[in-house]
């Protein structure tokens, strides 16, 4: 019976002739007892005559309860504990295990108080000695059991929702904590950067002076000056990255960008570096025009960062594939701090860019940390640990999503970026309205 109809019975009363008939399953091997129970139920005064079916074994009862999955489900089971295929508490437990949701009233030949208490604790609605059965008692027990079952179902639903909410809350909390951490790092970084620039400028000027005025420097002096210059350059680039990271929000200049053009442009920039490191870089571009709104320079920076990471991860050479395609945004990550209207929502049309390599991939234990500022696996001097953090921030400023997964079925990592598609300033390419041609991209499934 549908839940609504059942609620209706409880609301309008079992005696009301306009509500649907209740369906009882009596699990009983003694035909005399079954007929008695059936008779009692018929005379109990339900508004509509209840349907009473019989099962002589637990196994049969389980099959009946499971088989009539949706059409005409039973509302309640009257269960005898002594059956040919099971006796005692075991009978109840088997039924309960197989059909945990159906309310069960135990009808027993003996009046065992301990067993009664034990089984009610385990979820039986009632325990009635057979000798004390009468129509009124059976009806009361059935009605109360159904009422309790209704509340239990409601409670289960609430518990489920609570669990879900708790999970979401926990995720939001960790997101907030991360955002807070980033915020303080940003402020710190900007402060440090400004403080360090002056002394760095002094060292630079000093170096330039020594370089210009050191007449005939010996070999050691010369290499000292070169090393010092390299050190200044390195410090300057770290500061540059830090500042970029801390205030990349200020200067995003949005313009219409064709993703395929962007990728082609980036490929030209990294071609030389890839070649030098024996890495081939291949682009598999979408056939149609994928337009987005974005800051060309900053997005270029993101793609170059990612590709250079791949190149550096593949010491012995390898292959990088850049794939662009159209998609629909699947699961979105919640961004609790962001109170904005133009964030992406599930089902939004996106341009998807996947950059995958066949390098060693990312160890599971590091996956959570790769976007942390200053986190790097590269040797000192080779990486500032800001590349991916800056990239992710830039993508977030574009209201896009960026994630790193290990490629399925092969070694290597895959970075997937999803940017909100913007077809408004170009003719809509064919297929835009043909929803079936769009592919749902989820955060977990890597589409081939």
């Amino acid at each position: 019976m549908e839940q609504d109809a059942k609620d209706d019975i409880i609301r309008r009363g079992f005696r009301n002739p306009n509500v649907p008939a209740l369906r009882f399953l009596c699990v009983e091997d003694n035909m005399g007892d079954f007929v008695l129970v059936k008779d009692h139920l018929r005379h109990a005064g339900f508004g509509r005559q209840p349907v009473v079916c019989c099962a002589s074994r637990v196994q049969v009862a389980v099959e009946m309860l499971s088989a009539e999955s949706s059409d005409l489900p039973f509302d309640l089971v009257f269960l005898d504990l002594s059956l040919p295929d099971s006796t005692g508490a075991e009978t109840f437990r088997r039924l309960r295990h197989a059909c945990p949701r159906i309310p069960v009233i135990i009808l027993s030949g003996n009046n065992d108080h301990d067993l009664a208490e034990e089984l009610v604790q385990e979820g039986a609605q009632d325990y009635l000695p057979k000798e004390s059965l009468n129509p009124d008692l059976l009806m009361r027990c059935a009605i109360y059991a159904l009422g309790r079952q209704r509340y239990r179902a409601g409670l289960e639903k609430l518990t489920q929702r609570l669990k879900q909410t708790t999970l979401e809350l926990r995720a939001a909390h960790s997101h907030l904590a991360q955002a807070e951490k980033l915020d303080s790092i940003c402020r710190l970084a900007a402060g440090v950067a400004h403080e360090v620039k002056n002394p760095l400028a002094t060292i630079q000027m000093g170096l330039d002076y020594l370089t210009a005025h050191c007449v005939n420097p010996d070999e050691n002096t010369e290499s000292t000056l070169v090393l010092m210059q390299e050190a200044v350059d390195r410090a300057d680039s770290v500061i540059h990255d830090m500042l970029n990271f801390s205030r990349s929000d200020e200067s995003v200049k949005m313009e219409p960008i064709c993703i395929n053009d962007l990728v082609a442009c980036v490929l030209r920039i990294v071609k030389h570096e890839c070649h030098r490191n024996h890495v081939t870089c291949e682009a598999l571009l979408a056939d149609d025009v994928l337009m987005i709104s974005g800051d060309l320079n900053k997005l270029e920076q993101v793609f170059i960062n990612i590709i250079m990471n791949s190149v550096q991860a593949m010491k012995a050479g390898g292959k990088i594939e850049i794939r662009t395609k159209r998609g629909l945004l699947g699961e979105t990550q919640r961004d609790e701090g962001l109170r904005e209207m133009n964030r992406m929502r599930m089902g939004d049309e996106v341009a998807v860019i996947e950059i995958s390599d066949n390098g060693p991939g990312i160890p599971d234990e590091l996956k959570n940390r790769i976007f942390e500022p200053f986190f790097t696996t590269k040797p000192t001097g080779e990486g500032t640990g800001l590349g991916l953090a800056v990239s992710k921030r830039i993508i977030e400023l574009h209201r896009g999503q960026m994630e790193v997964v290990n490629s399925e079925g092969s070694t290597g990592a895959c970075v997937r970026i999803q940017l909100k598609a913007n077809f408004s300033n170009k003719n809509k390419p064919n297929g835009t309205n043909g929803k079936p041609s769009l592919e749902l991209v989820t955060a977990t499934n890597r589409t081939p």
Partner: protein, 129 residues
């Protein structure tokens, strides 16, 4: 022998200012005066009569913006080319020649290589290198 150009450096960072002075005077083309206190910048500038002023932006008390306003109000100094040197902008925000025009001033980002500073000064002074 050609006359040396006079350059006034206003920067509260003493080591940096003296390094700039050393480098500029090392070329043999410039006379450099350094002032570390922005509050005295105007008076020093009026006395020194520079051909070009290098001005730091972030300074305690009067900052580079305040100082440049005072120069603007002075009939003589308002015609002297002014180059702002600041840690506020990064090199990446600069144009190809390492300079940027912000609020009517030529801006240079710290840290700056001396040859870039020199090129900028020569350009502003109209020196043909």
């Amino acid at each position: 022998m050609k006359t040396k150009k006079r350059i006034l450096v206003i920067d509260d960072d003493k080591p940096l200012a003296s390094m700039v002075k050393m480098n500029l005077e090392g070329t043999g083309d410039y006379d450099v005066c350094v002032e570390n206190r922005s509050s005295r910048a105007l008076r020093v500038a009026q006395d020194f009569e520079p051909d070009l002023i290098l001005l730091d932006y972030i300074m305690p008390g009067l900052d580079g913006g305040d100082v440049s306003c005072r120069f603007h109000e002075d009939p003589k100094l308002s015609k002297v080319p002014l180059v702002m040197v600041t840690a506020l902008v990064s090199n990446c925000e600069m144009g190809d020649d390492g300079t940027s025009q912000l609020g009517g001033h030529t801006m240079l980002a710290k840290p700056i290589r001396f040859h870039a500073l020199l090129a900028c000064i020569e350009k502003r002074l109209g020196v043909v290198a």
